[in-house]
Each structure stands twice: as structure tokens, then as C-alpha cells.
């Protein structure tokens, strides 16, 4: 059963990683605008223009 000590340690570390990832996303401004990216992804790629 001593493995539980290690498992708990691992699980907390893993959870902490996710928390840090969330903080990073927050700081990076990824949650500032929840609306525009949803529209932006529906645009067609630009067609290559005929001009040289």
C-alpha cells in the first residue's frame, strides 16, 4: 500500500501542472475574447491571387 504515497504525490503534481497551464493561458489573454475566434475559424483561406 505504500505505493499510495507516490500515487498521491504524482496526482497532485499532475493537477498542479494543469493549474499552471490554466494560469498561463489566462495571462496570455486566451480567455479575454471568447467570441471572435469562433467566428474567425469559419472564414475560407485566402485564395492565391493571380497577380505575380
Amino acid at each position: 500500500m505504500n505505493i499510495i504515497y507516490m500515487l498521491i504525490g504524482c496526482s497532485i503534481l499532475l493537477a498542479l501542472t494543469f493549474l499552471m497551464a490554466f494560469f498561463w493561458a489566462m495571462k496570455n489573454g486566451q480567455n479575454d475574447d471568447m467570441q471572435t475566434p469562433a467566428i474567425r475559424i469559419l472564414f475560407e483561406d485566402d485564395k492565391p491571387t493571380e497577380e505575380p
Binding site: I8, L19, M26, D32, M34, Q35, T36, D46
Partner: protein
């Protein structure tokens, strides 16, 4: 272009219906030259995908052009940019025209129109575009003009100069919630074995689990829950017990008792309750903080004023920032520009539209040497004025910065804070009573147990949750019905209102649908003559007459003369045509006519033909609205206009006190007079002229036809189309408060059960851990169900 559904008569760019389709280009029809030129710019740059995402995505380009010379002044431009180094500049604009996916697509492809634009990014909800550009290749002014040329004019106002940082607060709260949620999840997991009962074999883990729980409780208490302590201390310093005070006490007690139990190894502590409580409380805060990014409730005169004005120094014209404008400066105001400071008219014919300031719809003529107050908009030719007062001391700004407003906010104590006081006292009495009882029984350990346990279960957390959840549900129902409140506190204010004050112009009349009527008869030929005369004049009434007659052909006008403030005359088909006030008329007919604003008299070849009159049309559904409101509320009507509509108004407004010719200051004073009679005043207004009164009132509502256009600072914004639903909104707000009171009863019954165990010193961590989330879930479900039930009852969906 498979889904193209526009008819031939609609403008390809903006969709405006125009049967004559005056502009044709590329086989497409346009309503005005502006729309057509936007199309030309886009089609010559291969950007026609703009029209494929939405039909007619543009906005009409019929307005006149603005001048952007001032953006070439480095001092002014520097205040507007977010960031600049030697190569690139970053600037963000508020663009009111952003409304669909085509807008996003086009503005994010600005780099195709000009190589100097590096990158542009849109925030759709805030209608903001942030542009990175190389200032060596495209100047700031050129960039703005580029945006104007494709139909997206950024709104640059004095308020932009002081950019506010509002984002950081919300981010901080989300971080706190994240930490609390993370700790709660882990604590729950580690507490689970305790709930199920540990066998002797597993006892070795117990110490580890409880110590880990304590470790998780530390960041929750000292980081996530910090603001409760800060707010409680701030309240106590002002000798006030707010709702945060009992919450802070409970969090402290929970943490201390858990720490003692865990360190002394006497029990598992209440860390699960603690972390869950903080998490839920913060969620309540978050729900409450809901904001509308696209609406601004804090606008003041600065967002109405331009950033710069043209100043004449000697023979040179120079753009000067508004706040650097000094007394004695000679300013140059073009058509449709705003006069930014009180000034004396030096040159030109001033016809100033003060509708924003006074509510009077007709422009006022000024003679040379007369003082023109700030806030007026010049209509017609360019004029020159000399500044007599700096901007900060003008009549308009003084009205805005009235000292009376400064203290107002603190006085509002909401229902929760009132209850919190009694709740806190009751909690203490029970806790001390229980402790004293067990102490007298010589069971000091149990006394301490009972004391802390009472504080834990008597938690007013439901109180602090039911309010934000109920009110934000009410808010979202209002939102769907086009009534936007500044924050949740406004709902409680709305429920308390007993007096309603309306402004007339623009608030209960709808500004777009101004109609004309002509009393008298005109032949077709005469109509064309009048229209030909009106076409030569820039006066708004002439334009209105021209639009109304819309003859399609015109005669030549000889000897056209316009006398400002009086009228126009000219010779058409060798007949003299005169239009204007009675003083203008040559014939005898003028003797029994009095000068009435918004009335234009007409005389052709010395024969009086009749008069044109501007009709204001009322917003739909008004009559029934005021009938039903006047039964329950004290109604008042203030108008900047004259009494000419008085009789018609009396029909629509039964039992209403009416006051005419009210200046902005009069309106403000009227509101404060009502307030001294201990009335809770709700004020409806629109323009800047009501701004003072809106702020003075207990609940200021700006009525507007386009929620994105300018509205003065206020507590709520109401779309003009929803004005007739007002009684429903008032009922719904009252029902919202009723829901909060009911949920209070429910939570009190939970608390009583908890206190029953607690006073006996028998509260186990498990009971606390079950009771707390159970009551919370009940309340959240109850509030949302009840709010929607009331919404259906009030037929608001």
C-alpha cells in the same frame, strides 16, 4: 454568391431600400456615393469575399466626411496609441460599425489594402480593433482614413485619451476561483476515505491526508478568500457590518478550528467545507460581475467631444488638443463639428444645434459677438470663434462635474448588507449562548466545539449566493428584452422606485420618425417650386421639407437669399417664393401669425399658402403604458421644449405633472427636490441635456434607438422599442427581490437544522460537508426556477 437575396432596389453595400437606385456600378445598385466607393475600393483589391459572408454587410455611408488633420500632430497621436517603438505602432480603436462576420473578415485583412499594416485583430464583443502598423509606411492619419474609406470609421473621442484598464480585476477573480476549485477538488478526494470510515489498516494514511488537506486550505484561506477579509476590515473601519464580515469570520473560524484539530490530531477538521464554501462564494462574485462589454455606462461629455480642434494662429491653421485650448484662442469650426468650449462668435453665420445640451430640436442662430456655449454642433458653413473659457470650466462640463454626485454611491445599502447585520448578531448570540451553556456544565471542550460549530453552520453563504444568482437571472431576462442594466444592484434599485420622471424629446418621442405636415394646398408646380428653393438652403428644416416633397425635378432659382434664423426667399418662374418665420412674409397675412418654432410659413407671389409643421411621432404603445404606470407610480414629465404639445401630451400622460422649458440644471434641481421628499426617483432621458438629472436620480435610464451610439452616463440603457414593456420590467424586479426573500427562508431552515446539531456540540465534519452543498444547490435551483416562473408570469421571455 449562391445565397444572394438582395432585391434590385436594395443597396448592395448596406442594404438600404432605395427604389430609385441612383448609383449603379458593376451591375450593382448603391444607395449613395459613399457605399459605391467602398465597393470600388474593395473590388479593386480583391476583397469581395466581404460580400459573400453576409448580404449587404456595410453600414450606410451617407454621412458627411470628417477631418482627421489633427492626427498628424505627434502630441495628439501619442495619446491615442497603445505602444510605439522605432518601427511599429500598436493602436486600438472602438469601431461602432462592427456587427457581423464580414466586418471581422475585412478589418483583419486590412494588410491587403495597405502594406504598412502588419496585423489587425478584432474583439467582436467590445467592437474593438487592435492594429499593428509600420508608421514609416503609413501614417496614423492615413490609417484612420483607410478605415474610413472602407466604411469603418473609428470613434475617436476625448475619453479614449485616458484608456482605462478594466480587464485585470476580472482576471484576478478567475485566478482565485481556479485556486479554490483546484484545492476543493483535491480536498474532497482526500476527505472521501474519512466519510466512508477508515479501517484500522488504513489509519496510517489518515495523518497524511489531514495534513495534505490543511496544506490545501492555506492558499484558499490566504489567497482566494483574501478579498472577504479586506472588505470586512474596510467595512468595520467605517463602523459598518457588511455581508463580508460574517463570511470572513466563518472562513477564519473554519480554518483555525481545522488547523487546531489537525495539528493536535483530534479530528479531521472542516477543510472540505472551507474550500467548498470559498469556491462557491467566489462563483457568486463572478456571476455578479457579469458585464456588457459593448455597452458603456460611464460615458460623459468627454466621449462626445472631439480630441482636437482647429485653431487659427495668425494665418496658419493648427490642430490643438482640446485640453490645451486656452482662453483667447481663435477656433475654426466646420459643418457638423462640435464647439468644445464656451466661445464668442467672431465670423460667419452660426446655426448651432444644441439638441444634445438643451433638448431643443431646432438649431439656434447666433449673431456676431454672441457667446456660444460648448456642446453645440454647428450646422451650415464654417465659423470662427474666440474661446472665453477653458473646456474644463464650460457650462456643460460644470454641470457634469457637479459636486452633488461625488457622495452618492456610498449611501446605497442593499438588502443583503441590512440582513447581514442582524444575521451576524443572531449568530453571535446563539454561539455564545451555546458555549456558555456547556461551560456551565463544566464541559469546556464541548463549549469550544459548540461555539465554533454554530459559527460554521450558521453561515450566510446562501445569502451571498442567492442574491447574485437571482439578480443575474433577472438581468439576463431583461437583456433578452433589450433592457441593459449596469450591474445586479440596479435590479434592487428598480424594485424600490416609486417616482418616475420622463424627459420628452428623444425619450418618449422617436427621433427618426419625424414627419412633416403641410396645412394648406399646393399644386404639383408649386411643390416643385418649394423644393427648388429648399434645395438651396442648408437649414435642417429645409432639408426636411426637401425630403418630404421629393419632387424629382427642380426649377432654376434666381436671387436666392437666406436670412439666418428667419428664412429663405428666391424668384422662381418669375414669382417670388418666401419660406420662413412670419417676419419674412411680405403680405398682410403675417398679422395674425405668431412665431412658433418648427413651423415654416410659405408665401408664393404675395399669396399666403399655408405652413409646414414638424410632427414628432410618439414611440409605440405609449398611451397604455402611462395609463397603467400612473396607477402605481408618481409620474413627472420634463421637457426642454415649449408648451406647444402640452394638450396632446396631457392625453397620453394622465395624472402627470408636466414642466416645460426646463434647462439641464432645472432638471437636475427638480430631481433633487423630489429626493428631498424622500422619493426614490427613476429618470428616463436621452441626450447630454439629461446627463445631470440621470446621475442625480436614484436610477438613471438612458433611452436610445441604437444601443451602440452615444448615451450619457447612466445605470441602465433601454432600447427605445422596449419602452412599452416598462411595467413588466418593474414587476419582474419586484419579483426578483421576492425570490431572494423566499430563498432566505429556505436557507434559514437549513441553518436551523445545522444549529440544532451545533449547539449540542455534535456537528461532525460530514454533516457540515453535506449540509453546505445541499443548501447551496437547492438555492441555486430555486432562484433560477423561480425567476423564470416570474418571467413567464410577467410575459417576459
Amino acid at each position: 454568391m449562391s445565397t444572394f437575396t438582395l432585391t434590385d432596389t436594395q443597396c448592395y453595400h448596406c442594404g438600404t431600400e432605395n427604389p430609385k437606385a441612383p448609383y449603379q456600378y458593376d451591375g450593382k445598385s448603391f444607395c449613395c456615393i459613399g457605399c459605391q466607393s467602398v465597393y470600388q475600393v474593395l473590388s479593386s483589391n480583391n476583397l469581395c469575399s466581404y460580400y459573400t459572408y453576409n448580404d449587404a454587410p456595410g453600414q450606410t455611408q451617407a454621412q458627411s466626411l470628417q477631418h482627421y488633420e489633427y492626427l498628424d500632430e505627434p502630441g495628439i497621436a501619442a495619446k491615442l496609441v497603445d505602444y510605439a517603438d522605432e518601427n511599429i505602432t500598436v493602436v486600438s480603436f472602438y469601431v461602432p460599425a462592427i456587427h457581423c462576420s464580414s466586418c471581422i473578415w475585412l478589418l483583419e485583412h486590412l494588410h491587403k489594402l495597405d502594406k504598412g499594416v502588419v496585423h489587425s485583430r478584432i474583439d467582436f464583443l467590445k467592437k474593438q480593433v487592435s492594429i499593428t502598423f509600420k508608421h514609416q509606411e503609413i501614417s496614423f492619419r492615413k490609417l484612420v482614413e483607410l478605415m474610413v474609406s472602407v466604411g469603418y470609421e473609428p470613434l475617436i473621442s476625448l475619453q479614449d485619451v485616458v484608456k482605462e484598464k478594466q480587464q485585470s480585476v476580472n482576471r484576478e477573480l478567475i485566478k482565485r476561483i481556479a485556486v479554490a476549485g483546484f484545492c476543493m477538488g483535491n480536498v474532497m478526494l482526500l476527505s472521501f476515505p474519512e466519510y466512508l470510515g477508515l479501517s484500522s489498516f488504513e489509519q496510517q494514511f489518515r495523518t497524511l491526508f489531514t495534513w495534505l488537506n490543511l496544506a490545501f486550505a492555506i492558499p484558499v484561506t490566504f489567497y482566494s478568500a483574501r478579498e472577504f477579509f479586506v472588505s470586512a476590515v474596510a467595512g468595520l473601519k467605517n463602523k459598518m457590518v457588511n455581508l463580508d464580515a460574517p463570511l470572513a469570520l466563518i472562513i477564519a473560524v473554519l480554518f483555525l478550528r481545522s488547523a487546531f484539530e489537525i495539528i493536535a490530531q483530534t479530528g479531521p477538521g472542516f477543510t472540505d467545507t472551507l474550500t467548498g464554501l470559498v469556491f462557491l462564494l467566489l462563483m457568486g462574485r463572478w456571476v455578479k460581475q457579469r458585464t456588457y462589454y459593448h455597452l458603456s455606462f460611464k460615458r460623459d461629455y468627454r466621449s462626445y467631444f472631439p480630441v482636437a480642434v482647429t485653431v487659427l494662429r495668425g494665418i496658419r491653421e493648427k490642430s490643438v488638443a482640446i485640453e490645451e485650448l486656452a482662453v483667447g484662442d481663435r477656433i475654426f469650426i466646420r459643418n457638423n463639428e462640435i464647439i468644445p468650449a464656451d466661445a464668442i462668435l467672431m465670423k460667419g453665420n452660426a446655426t448651432v444645434d444644441f439638441s444634445f445640451v438643451t433638448g431643443e430640436s431646432e438649431p439656434v442662430s447666433k449673431v456676431l459677438g454672441e457667446i456660444v456655449y460648448a456642446g453645440g454642433r454647428q450646422v451650415g458653413e464654417a465659423i470662427e470663434l474666440e474661446v472665453v473659457k477653458p473646456v474644463s470650466q464650460s457650462y456643460l462640463t460644470r454641470l457634469w462635474n457637479n459636486d452633488a454626485f461625488a457622495e452618492k454611491d456610498n449611501s446605497i445599502q442593499n438588502f443583503n448588507d441590512n440582513i447581514a447585520k442582524y444575521f451576524g448578531i443572531a449568530m453571535f448570540v446563539i454561539a455564545i449562548g451555546a458555549a456558555a451553556y456547556w461551560f456551565l456544565q463544566n464541559d469546556s471542550a464541548r463549549a469550544w466545539n459548540a461555539f465554533t460549530a454554530v459559527l460554521i453552520v450558521a453561515c450566510p453563504c446562501v445569502l451571498s449566493l442567492s442574491t447574485p444568482f437571482t439578480l443575474s437571472a433577472v438581468l439576463s431576462i431583461f437583456d433578452k428584452n433589450r433592457f441593459y442594466l449596469k450591474n445586479t444592484d440596479v435590479v434592487e434599485q428598480l424594485a424600490r422606485v416609486d417616482t418616475i420622471v420622463f424627459d420628452k424629446t428623444g425619450t418618449i418621442t422617436s427621433p427618426d420618425a419625424i414627419g412633416l405636415s403641410f396645412s394648406g394646398t399646393l399644386t404639383e408646380d408649386e411643390k416643385v417650386m418649394v423644393a427648388s428653393l429648399a434645395r438651396n438652403s442648408t437649414h435642417p428644416l429645409s432639408r426636411e421639407i426637401l425630403r418630404w416633397l421629393d419632387p424629382g425635378l427642380y426649377f432654376d432659382v434666381l436671387a436666392f437669399t437666406e436670412l439666418p434664423g428667419k428664412g429663405v426667399y428666391g424668384i422662381i418662374k418669375s414669382q417670388q417664393v418666401i419660406m420662413g418665420s412670419p417676419a419674412m412674409l411680405a403680405s398682410v397675412s403675417k398679422m395674425n401669425l405668431t412665431k412658433v418654432p418648427s413651423v415654416v410659413h410659405l408665401e408664393i407671389a404675395n399669396v399666403y399658402k399655408g405652413y409646414f409643421q414638424l410632427k414628432q411621432s410618439w414611440r409605440p404603445g405609449l398611451a397604455g403604458l402611462f395609463q397603467s404606470l400612473s396607477l402605481k407610480y408618481d409620474m413627472h414629465l420634463l421637457s426642454g421644449d415649449n408648451e406647444s404639445d402640452g394638450n396632446r401630451l396631457a392625453e397620453i400622460f394622465p395624472n402627470t405633472q408636466m414642466h416645460f422649458r426646463q434647462s439641464p440644471q432645472d432638471k437636475l434641481d427638480y430631481i433633487s427636490k423630489l429626493q428631498t421628499q424622500d422619493k426614490k426617483v427613476m429618470m428616463f432621458g436621452d441626450g447630454l441635456n439629461d446627463a445631470g438629472a440621470l446621475r442625480q436620480s436614484d436610477l438613471g435610464v438612458a433611452v436610445t434607438d441604437n444601443i451602440n451610439s452615444f448615451s450619457p452616463g447612466c445605470d441602465a440603457i433601454l432600447d427605445g422599442r422596449s419602452l412599452s414593456s416598462l411595467p413588466k420590467f418593474l414587476l419582474q424586479a419586484k419579483d426578483g427581490v421576492k425570490t431572494i426573500r423566499l430563498s432566505l427562508c429556505i436557507s434559514a431552515s437549513y441553518n436551523l437544522i445545522g444549529v440544532w446539531f451545533a449547539v449540542q456540540g455534535l456537528l461532525s465534519p460530514l454533516t457540515a460537508a453535506v449540509l453546505m452543498p445541499l443548501s447551496t444547490v437547492t438555492i441555486i435551483v430555486f432562484t433560477s426556477v423561480a425567476t423564470h416562473f416570474f418571467a413567464t408570469k410577467n410575459s417576459l421571455t
